[in-house]
Symmetry: C2
Subunit: 406 residues, 2 copies
């Protein structure tokens, strides 16, 4: 693990890295005129780009378009719209993207292949191509170095807050910045859970290593959060690296690569935390750590089963240290463990120790669960495998939000 010195930027966003411009506005896809529904992110120079995509077999047209488009050697822009997922709406959805990308390419005076797209919102509806197209000239004119905040608004659906971050660190004597905006998971209203994250950096890094770094970061962060158990048709994470920081280009798995990879993971972790915190109806964010498994895979299996358990999540919403639900979830996960070696701590309240209840610690555990953020540690044996998840409570508000149609 390389020690990193970095600085979290106050008010940091996707335009914090040098050479990036962004904008966001209301075009009319969403009915509420106060809500932005389109964003544009542009780099002044060509970028190496990489991304990860939903593995759902039902994919939005934007996912299909981006999965193909990401293979291009370099990219310059990302066009995002919210309010319509452009999914399961027939061939019209494909044409919608082609038209909007064509118009964006004309405005930016770059080839269409250099534009990536993402969309989020209601699935199964015809995409309002003309609405978005008519907004593109204004979106283009508003592009600015401070436009990250506006862009952060244009990608949201039911999120209560924008999700933005940036951090800087040094590669040799060059200051490098990574910025990100995101839209939360479990944001299901009215139809579909979706997470989106767009990351920019002025670091110089080769496309293959950027791709490797983003897969590593996504696997350790976005793939280890749990709001509900559902998988979207539109999930995407993009990262664009334009090299404006003029560091020696990262093209080997060396110290610079590891620093960049760790910083990227930190940015993704910050975004993942904001997503969980802003999850539908969420009151509590729980960092769940599993220790002592045979190996990391087994630890992850146990952690995932606990993190996704509805009984565990309702327990968090009630702030009740019902450790039996944790034990039952591990037992159901298929992981081999000995209940007599099971230990469970709520924050610093060690409620179960090697299978024995320490009832005196229950009141302390209750106080921990009343907090907004806390850690639950579960030790399932004597192995060295460990895993960490970010999870949230399941509240009546979640049900109310997702039971309503529009």
């Amino acid at each position: 693990m390389v020690k990193i010195f970095w600085e979290k930027k106050k008010g940091g966003t996707i335009t914090s890295p040098q050479g990036f411009f962004a904008s966001g506005l209301h075009t009319g896809i969403k009915k509420n005129k106060q809500k932005f529904d389109a964003s544009l992110i542009v780099s002044q120079t060509p970028c190496a780009a990489a991304g990860t995509f939903t593995t759902n077999r039902v994919k939005s047209w934007c996912v299909l378009h981006a999965m193909k488009g990401i293979r291009h050697s370099y990219h310059r822009a990302v066009l995002v719209s919210s309010g319509n997922a452009n999914c399961m709406n027939g061939p019209q959805g494909k044409k919608a993207i082609e038209e909007c990308v064509g118009e964006t390419a004309r405005l930016l005076n770059i080839p269409e292949e250099e534009i990536l797209t993402a969309q989020t919102g209601l699935i199964g509806s015809p995409f309002p191509t003309d609405v978005l197209k008519s907004g593109l000239p204004k979106l283009f004119r508003r592009l600015s170095e401070d436009g990250g905040h506006a862009a952060a608004k244009g990608i949201l659906t039911t999120d209560r807050n924008t999700k933005e971050t940036a951090l800087s660190f040094f590669l040799g004597d060059k200051k490098v910045t990574i910025g990100a905006i995101a839209k939360g998971a479990g944001m299901v209203h009215p139809n579909m859970a979706t997470m989106l994250c767009f990351i920019t950096t002025d670091a110089a890094i080769s496309k293959p290593l950027l791709s490797r770094a983003i897969r590593h970061a996504v696997d350790n962060t976005f793939n280890k959060i749990s709001i509900d158990n559902d998988m979207s048709t539109n999930d995407m994470v993009f990262v664009l690296a334009n090299g404006v920081a003029t560091n020696p280009i990262i093209q080997n798995v060396d110290r610079d690569y590891r620093m960049f990879r760790d910083a990227l993971e930190e940015v993704c972790r910050a975004m993942a935390y904001k997503m969980v915190k802003d999850g539908e109806g969420v009151n509590h964010v729980c960092r769940l750590r599993v220790f002592g498994a045979k190996n990391p895979t087994e630890a992850e299996k146990a952690a995932r089963q606990i993190a996704n358990s509805m009984l565990f999540k309702t327990m968090l919403s009630g702030a009740n240290p019902n450790w039996g639900r944790i034990a039952a979830a591990i037992g159901a996960s298929g992981v081999v463990f000995n209940p007599d070696q099971l230990s469970i701590s709520f924050g610093n309240a060690h409620v179960l120790s090697n299978g024995s209840l320490r009832a005196a610690h229950i009141p302390k555990a209750e106080r921990v669960l009343y907090k907004r953020d806390y850690t639950i540690d579960v030790t399932i044996g004597k192995g060295r495998g460990r895993a960490e998840f970010l999870t949230s409570d399941l509240t009546t508000k979640y049900v109310v939000i997702n039971a309503s149609y529009s």
Copy 2:
């Protein structure tokens, strides 16, 4: 498929088959004196017995005891208690069962090996052995031919209603009866989801075939319901066959076996339906059918993913035909399918037909979802694989019940 002629017994219960006696009462395990917390089921003659058990690695002492006990050649009685799961409470829990079984054997004047046990309730608490033991003489004295209804009460925790059924059919000129009582799944208050089902029959059938029939029935019914995604530490299904109907003993896979197996499945299906209907906070029961999969395994995979999806379940509670959530759930299931061949019907409202939305049918679909019971049919392709699940809506009440500790 053998055609069966049978009669559903009104007021049928576990003592409807000949030669069974039962009782139920309040011993003091539960604080509320109005609530029964112990039941005893006894056959006048030795029974072939078979059972299925939770696959959770964390098992109650009663599950460990019964898994071993079920290997005995014949059985005479089942002792059940509710209010304490007797799970993860140290060696005291094992001793509790041995003492209570010993006392029951003495009262019934039968060997201990002929007694099966089941328990349900709060996990992690010491078992109140003396409380249950002191109630056993009265439980024994109250055994009667009409005691099934009392026994049905003694096994409940948060269930709103007792779950009882019985049906009769003829094997040759002998009338055979199967009766059952159950305790619901997703009955989690305060700590743990648990389902229990006890079945009696006066049919004569060999132990191996009884075991085969019950596995078949459980797999087609209890294993295909979804209230929450959690697996209990205490799940059990027992069936006892005492042969008092004097039919020629079923010991081959013949017409009589198939009739018995189908009747047993029907009894389990009735119990499964009652469990879902009485699930915590449940307002709607949905029969979910998946057609057109490559094979039954793929169909089951798709059905299970839909049935367990929180977005699908909240959609049911809101009575909104958001078919996109169904499509997304199938897409996430790993099943290979072509979205262009996907059809979805809510009752008789065909909302999606070969991937095309029929928007005019949405209002009709809404009316279907307002009903207490309905069927949702999903066709995912042109294969012959099909599967059926019983599932329920996820309501704010579920969250409220499971967020409260005691």
